[in-house]
């Protein structure tokens, strides 16, 4: 218990005291995971929409792959991407190994199936009659997609939060492709592992708490967005 209290106090001290290194690590975590989430939305939402709305040969297989992808072990993604990006690998000439860019790439791979799968599920909850009605009153293809998206905004925002949550908390892939280099690729999760390994448990707990706080704040914003409308369910008590 003492350790937890120690960690909690240390977290406050680090956050409020403006420890430069901790701020830099926190900022990098946000940059890497934030960018990765955005990029995964850019590819994942269209792909999920495609899976939901379009019939094509091999659709079921594709959907199964995406759903399996939601459970991809980050460390495996990190290992495979490392093998590609190492100097001894086919993409070594890009010099991406041990850079934040590589970390973003790994996290896009992790978040993409989550976003795509949940987007697909979001659109599949919609009534196909709605699409037909919209087309009937003259909606263009882009307008159709936009309006369907608005209808499905609750589960779509859930997809965003799930994608972000999946990557801000992972350590396996960023450790491998990033190398946890001080001042360059160290993020909150990898720093926590380092401090744990060194036996500095109070600092490790502090970093963990900072990570949770960060994640909470981002999700607070997204949840406010998601829960704008007051939907009145009958009382179930």
């Amino acid at each position: 218990m003492e350790l937890l209290l120690d960690g909690f106090l240390k977290a406050l001290r680090l956050m409020l005291g403006g420890d430069a290194e901790v701020w830099q690590i926190t900022l990098l975590s946000l940059q890497v995971s934030g960018t990765a989430t955005l990029l995964s939305l850019v590819v994942g939402i269209p792909f999920g929409t495609f899976l939901a709305l379009i019939q094509f040969p091999g659709r079921r297989l594709c959907i199964s792959l995406v759903n399996t992808g939601m459970g991809l072990p980050p460390v495996v993604v990190g290992l495979l991407l490392s093998i590609l990006l190492w100097r001894s690998g086919p993409l070594g000439f890009l010099q991406l190994i041990y850079t934040p860019a590589a970390m973003m790439m790994a996290q896009v791979v992790i978040a993409f199936p989550i976003v795509a799968g949940l987007t697909m599920a979001a659109f599949q909850t919609l009534n196909p009659q709605l699409a037909m009605q919209l087309l009937g009153i003259g909606a263009s293809r882009w307008q159709l997609l936009w309006l369907l998206g608005k209808e499905a905004q609750l589960p779509l925002l859930a997809a965003v939060m799930a994608g972000f949550g999946g990557v801000i908390s992972e350590v396996g892939s960023v450790m491998m492709v990033g190398g946890n280099i001080k001042g360059q690729t160290r993020v909150l999760t990898t720093a926590t592992v380092l401090e744990t390994q060194k036996g500095n448990f109070a600092i490790a707990i502090a970093l963990g708490l900072i990570l949770l706080t960060l994640s909470f704040m981002v999700n607070l914003v997204l949840t406010s967005l998601q829960q704008r409308q007051q939907i009145r369910w009958p009382s179930l008590s």
Binding site: L39, V42, V43, P46, F47, T49, F50, L53, I54, F56, W86, R87, S88, G92, F93, L94, Q95, L96, I97, Y98, T99, A101, A102, M104, M105, V108, R141, W142, L144, L145, G179, N180, I181, K182, Q184, T196, Q197, K198, G199, N200, F201
Partner: protein, 277 residues
């Protein structure tokens, strides 16, 4: 049909952009120097002192990747690093002989110590040599925590068992598979023995119940060497950077920093310099 084509095209364009973005964003420079080292070296904090000084002096951007000794040496063999800083002479020498690594210089050392519970049930304290200490541990069957991860410390431990003619096995011999800090904590919690480098122990001493019970046998010397990855074996190795770091590490400025490191905090330097060849 229109919707399908639209979505298909959009996805293809976006995929292309997303995966072209990082390479454009990444800094294309040969000022990157990859230094592969071990977790215990990094945990000692020495590199946090040395590397910034080198970076400022030469403008190189050093990527210090701390992995297990096994992985560090493999990285050297594959050309995924430019310079190595490890402490496993037995594993380093074959790679030098085979031409994968160049200019191996043993430049500093510290020692391994056996730590354990104050009460010392295995009576390691009064052992006359490391081999004798290990024999007592094996016979007493008091728990002993091994790194079990092919690290420099683990290899040293294995060579000590071999030298004493013993094969450690049984419920008392526990392999943690983790770094030195975590292993020390396990030993402390279980009132067990373990082999550790002195530096990591000193860093954590205040939070552990274990004390140093055996030290001083010459076989417990932990020798650190720096070596360059042979650029002739792999393209992409930063040969100039490797030479620069190698030379700087063996020079006066680095030696002074190493000599003083830890003296203030622990009352004793954590590393000792080998005399210059």
């Amino acid at each position: 049909m229109g919707l399908r084509a639209l979505l298909c095209r959009t996805i293809l364009v976006l995929l292309t952009c997303v995966f072209l973005l990082p390479p454009l964003v990444a800094a294309q420079t040969n000022q990157n120097l990859i230094l592969a080292t071990t977790t215990s070296t990094q945990d000692s904090g020495l590199l946090d002192v040395l590397v910034p000084v080198f970076e400022q002096k030469t403008g190189y951007r050093v990527k210090t990747v701390a992995v297990g000794t096994g992985q560090a040496l493999t990285m050297g063999k594959r050309g995924d690093a430019d310079v190595l800083l490890t402490h496993a002479p037995a594993a380093e020498k074959p790679l030098v002989d085979e031409g994968w690594l160049l200019d191996r210089v043993s430049f500093m050392y510290n020692d391994f110590v056996v730590v354990g519970p104050q009460a010392d049930p295995a009576q390691v304290r009064s052992a006359q040599s490391a081999a004798a200490a290990l024999k007592r541990l094996a016979e007493s069957k008091v728990p002993f925590i091994s790194r079990g991860d092919q690290s420099g410390t683990h290899k040293q431990e294995q060579s000590l068992w071999k030298a004493s003619g013993l094969v450690p096995q049984g419920d008392w011999y526990i392999e943690s598979g983790q770094g030195m800090g975590a292993t020390l904590r396990i030993a402390s919690e279980k009132s067990a023995y373990t082999l550790t480098d002195r530096s990591t122990y000193l860093h954590l001493q205040k939070t552990l119940t274990s004390t140093i019970l055996f030290a001083g046998d010459p076989v417990l010397r932990n020798v650190y060497s720096v070596m360059r990855v042979n650029p002739a074996k792999h393209s992409g190795v930063n040969s100039e950077g490797g030479k620069a770091f190698h030379a700087w590490l063996l020079g006066d400025e680095a030696r002074e920093l190493i000599r003083q490191y830890g003296a203030k905090e622990f009352g004793q330097p954590l590393f000792f310099l080998e005399t210059r060849p």
